[in-house]
């Protein structure tokens, strides 16, 4: 539990607070909406929770020409989407499998995924610049905004390279190295034509080649797949099971285009890829998601119109997952083994996957919904088994809770651990920034 909650209004207040905390060794934990399932904003060692969601939640600037937005840490996905839709409809941002009240900057600096991930990869790849308060209370600006002693020109936050990339000292560190106070995120042109297709795949592991091959076509903005049990969850089947004859997975392919001809060409490439897969004996078909979902009232639009609160994720008192970056060539093995683990524990399989950057890597995320207090022991045992197996196959968990980083520390090469600890000590000698994370 935190000892205090501070609602900062501006950077000057924060600088004073950081200096005070550093001199008195008081832990500081950044917080936006407390939406992270891994409990990253739950203080491991008490101290102060910095609630950015209440007052430091402004969209400071949008540069239309260079397509970026400068955000304070408390800006939420819903807020940014509404702002862009109303003011810059020709620009779009990317949104994760998360509710509208989830914070953008937290997700960005923890390399979350998004609904343009097949094209763009992780959200961390699309940062132009950061403003950070260090443990000494210094303001550091990283990226093309690094010129000037005084406040940066708002139109200077357009690029991350080519200077030494200090951004890595703050991305994926879970707030352990400094306090991020501004973040410039890339925006993209918003094409007028957007359509989503649903791929229905029969055969447990055949979803893997379908996702990989469609990813490589470079015509799809986003690919995400879920177990068939998840589709049933959306229509409130409490403990869904797969029956013979039902497909094993469905995948969502988002396609966008500037003109009808461009769209037609993309669709042709997608259809050809599906045909080739069918010729190889893979039972896959694609349908227009709007028509299919409407006719069958499958209520899957919340998986498409992101950000969204997914009822099937929040209707139980407990929710946990093993979210990882995964090597896509191992998806078959991961699916087969993890699916059988779910069944062994009598829990409906809920596997969510994505293809990132056309297939350079993937996301493998088994999810468990459960009743707290009655099923916790069983669920923790399953999650532990899934984590051990996936890590042994090279998966890298993201937004990691401490019980998971403890596992990781045992298998990461010692040189990495040594450098990691050296960097943490150097940037946060009094261990005030989110102490305890990554078992620091």
């Amino acid at each position: 539990m935190p000892d205090f909650i501070v609602i900062p209004e501006n950077v000057d207040q924060l600088i004073k607070l950081v200096k005070f905390c550093n001199s008195h060794k008081i832990p500081m934990v950044p917080y936006i909406s407390g939406n992270n399932v891994g409990g990253l904003t739950i203080p491991e060692n008490g101290g102060i929770i910095l609630d950015f969601g209440k007052k430091m939640n402004k969209i400071l600037h949008v540069n239309e020409e260079m397509m970026y937005a400068i955000l304070e840490p408390g800006v939420t996905f819903g807020q940014l989407k509404k702002f862009l839709d109303e003011n810059y409809p020709h620009l779009r941002y990317s949104y994760p499998f998360a509710p509208p009240y989830a914070g953008v900057v937290g997700n960005v600096i923890l390399s979350g995924m998004n609904n343009l991930s097949c094209k763009l990869g992780s959200m961390g790849d699309s940062i132009n610049g950061l403003e950070i308060i260090t443990a000494e209370g210094d303001i550091v600006r990283i990226g093309s905004c690094f010129y000037r002693k005084e406040e940066a020109d708002p139109d200077s936050w357009w690029c991350r390279y080519p200077m030494p990339d200090l951004m890595g000292l703050f991305i994926n560190w879970q707030g352990m190295t400094g306090i991020v106070t501004k973040c410039s995120v890339q925006l993209w042109p918003n094409p007028p034509i957007k359509k989503v297709y649903l791929a229905i795949v029969f055969g447990l592991i055949d979803i893997a080649p379908v996702m990989r091959e469609v990813g490589k076509t470079e015509v799809v903005d986003d690919i995400s797949a879920v177990s068939i049990e998840v589709v049933k969850m959306t229509v409130e089947i409490p403990n869904p099971q797969k029956y013979p004859g039902e497909p094993d997975f469905v995948a969502i392919f988002s396609v966008s285009a500037r003109t009808k001809n461009q769209f037609k060409a993309k669709k042709e490439i997608l259809d050809n890829t599906i045909n080739k897969l069918q010729k190889k004996g893979i039972m896959v078909m694609i349908v227009d998601v709007d028509e299919f979902v409407k006719l069958f009232n499958l209520r899957m639009r919340c998986y498409i119109d992101l950000p969204a609160t997914l009822l099937s994720l929040v209707e139980y008192s407990g929710l946990t997952w093993f979210g990882s970056y995964a090597p896509t060539h191992k998806l078959e093995k991961l699916i087969k083994t993890v699916n059988s683990m779910f069944l062994k524990y009598g829990i409906p399989p809920f596997i969510y996957m994505k293809i990132m950057k056309y297939g350079h890597y993937g996301i493998f995320r088994p999810i468990i919904r459960y009743n707290k207090f009655t099923e916790e022991e069983k669920v923790h045992a399953l999650l532990d088994e899934i984590a051990d197996f996936c890590i042994s196959e090279g998966c890298i968990p993201y937004k990691t809770p401490t019980w998971m980083t403890e596992k990781l520390r045992k298998v990461i090469n010692p040189g990495w651990i040594k450098l990691f600890e050296k960097m943490k000590k150097c940037l946060d000698p009094n261990n005030i920034f989110n102490p305890g994370r990554w078992n620091t």
Binding site: I237, E246, M285, E291, K294, F296, N297, L298, R299
Partner: protein, 138 residues
């Protein structure tokens, strides 16, 4: 009122959603006391037997041996028919719709009114809200 049993397999769930869409008197009169057994096989999925009995409708996975009507319909043809791109005759000519029991003209016509018409109504309904648990149509 109609009692429609909530199934838990994918195709029955889909058929359930189609059959629970209409609340109007015409639909209730069509369905009530129909007392027929219809097999619907949406390809490439599996057959489902829909049993209309008095004011109840229930679903069973698999194909009932004795049925008043048996239909095999490809999913893409089903979507085309719902969205007015293809008619039943066209679907049959293309081999995408196969009907066993066609000579039972009365049953076939009534089924068309119950099922095909409702599909078209759903596809044309701009009001369908995908997030709501149940649509209530006045």
């Amino acid at each position: 009122m109609l009692e429609i049993e909530q199934p838990d397999d994918l195709i029955s769930i889909s058929l359930y959603n189609i059959l629970t869409y209409r609340k109007d008197e015409e639909f209730i009169n069509l369905v009530k006391d129909w007392n027929k057994t219809i097999v619907i096989h949406v390809i490439p999925f599996y057959p489902v037997t829909v049993i209309f009995n008095e004011n109840k409708i229930k679903f069973e996975r698999g194909e009932a041996k004795k049925a008043n009507l048996k239909l095999k319909l490809e999913i893409d043809a089903m979507l085309d028919m719902a969205n007015g791109r293809l008619g039943p005759v066209g679907a049959m000519l293309k081999g995408k719709l196969k009907i066993k029991g066609m000579f039972r003209v009365g049953t076939l016509l009534k089924f068309t009114k119950i099922f095909m018409k409702t599909m078209k109504m759903i596809a044309a309904d701009p009001e369908i809200h995908f997030y709501e648990k149940k649509r209530i149509k006045q």
